[in-house]
Amino acid sequence: MKLQLKIWRQNGPSAPGGFKDYPIDNVSPDMSFLEMLDVLNVELVKKGETPVEFDHDCREGICGSCSLMINGNAHGPETGTATCQLHMRKFKDGDTVVVEPWRAKAFPVIKDLATDRTAFDRIMAAGGFVSVNTGNAPEANSILIGHDTAESAMDSAACIGCGACVAACKNSSAMLFVSAKVSHLAQLPQGHPERAKRVRGMVTQMDKEGFGNCSNTGACEAACPKEIKLENIARLNREMMRAAFTE
């Protein structure tokens, strides 16, 4: 396959950026999108140019490191798929592919396509955990949890924190991410003792980081590689309301 890549290049957070054209040959339809970028980078290094910076780690769709706006879509045109699992067969020979970093004030560009997503880490540190001494694995049947509740909590826990929801949102809102993390623990008995403190802390930190506000457009749900549902946001709103009357 032959592709015409238009890639966002930017030297640093405050440096001006711009699109640069990179024609690429010999793309196998079986490559992942990141492997295609690897091929491009090898060519660039051979020519003595600076390779394109992009985030990646596990490349199997579970770590949340990869990002990229591909032709305007977070994680590309496929639904329920992270960029690392997007295959080049989804594109046609001769296509022009526009590749940009996540766009949000709370996610400043580090270089090229790599963005600083530590705002998510700070939100997690503000309450996205359960404070218990863990010790040995507890006996599985000592706390009984209904099947539907367990499944629903697991669906929320599937969030990999990649930030596609923020990138897809016209307001750069982090509500889907925060709601998934809050929902996961709010549905389980282990999360109940710190329920109010958790949601208050995480929402306050989210607002402080400069993310926008949710206007219920649903663009996040459509872009999420883990298909986190909008009902998590409703649950977050409920949890926050509940916390308003709990010290």
Binding site: F19, K170, D207, C214, M240
Partner: protein, 223 residues
């Protein structure tokens, strides 16, 4: 009290208030539309309804309540919308390409449609509430002939056209706003499809009801 303050200051709490006041205002437009339907019954029914409304002492409570809802709804929504603009920073030459693959049309233009509705409401109050006073007497009681005034206005194609355009804008605003309010109040979950459909239906009933009134006034008014 401290946690209530944190809630009301947070983005979630402010959206809660926008949703709550939005639902209140939705209730108002629905009853307003239903009341106006009396114009199809007779000028007398329409005028008597208006007379009963404004002579009821509770009208002042209702007016203050409406004003508070309007101010809270608009003030908070505009502040949230401005914050959203700041949060989405695009580099100068970056493409604002079509990333909102599933964002519904109405949801992207809530601030714009909201401002247009505000302009309409202000002009609407000037035209009717503070407009010319035509007296009429039914059974010995003198009251305002609002029916005469609306027919007079609807006879103008320019006014009717503006009215119809505004109702289309209201439709777009309500079609997203009504169901989104439930989400902001945390009530949107398993039945989300049903609530979305209900939102469309509500917008259709309200805007549709308001839509047929100027058309009727233009073609058949005064006959």
């Amino acid at each position: 009290m401290a946690s209530l303050k944190i809630f009301l200051k947070s983005s979630v709490g402010r959206k809660f208030l926008v949703g709550l006041t939005g639902l209140g205002l939705s209730g108002f437009v629905l009853t307003h539309m239903a009341g106006n339907m009396l114009m199809f019954v007779s000028p007398e029914a329409y005028n008597t309804y208006g007379h009963r409304l404004i002579t009821n002492p509770l009208i002042y409570v209702a007016e203050v309540g409406l004003l508070v809802m309007f101010v809270v709804h608009m003030g908070l929504a505009l502040k949230l919308a401005l914050e959203n603009k700041v949060a989405r920073a695009l580099a100068p030459s970056q493409n604002p390409s079509n990333c909102e693959k599933d964002a519904r049309f109405g949801s992207r233009y809530m601030a714009l449609t909201g401002i247009l509705v505000l302009v309409f409401v202000v002009l609407h109050l000037i035209t009717f509430k503070y407009g010319p006073y035509y007296p009429v007497t039914y059974n010995g009681v003198e009251m305002r002939d609002l029916h005469k005034l609306i027919i007079e206005k609807f006879k103008s194609p320019l006014y009717s056209g503006w009215y119809l355009f505004s109702m289309l804008v209201l439709f777009v605003h309500l079609a997203h706003g009504f169901s989104a309010s439930f989400q902001s109040l945390g009530l949107f979950s398993v039945r989300q499809c049903l609530i979305k459909k209900l939102g469309w239906l509500f917008a259709l009933i309200v805007a549709g009801g308001f839509f047929i009134q100027p058309i009727y006034g233009y073609f058949y008014g005064g006959n």
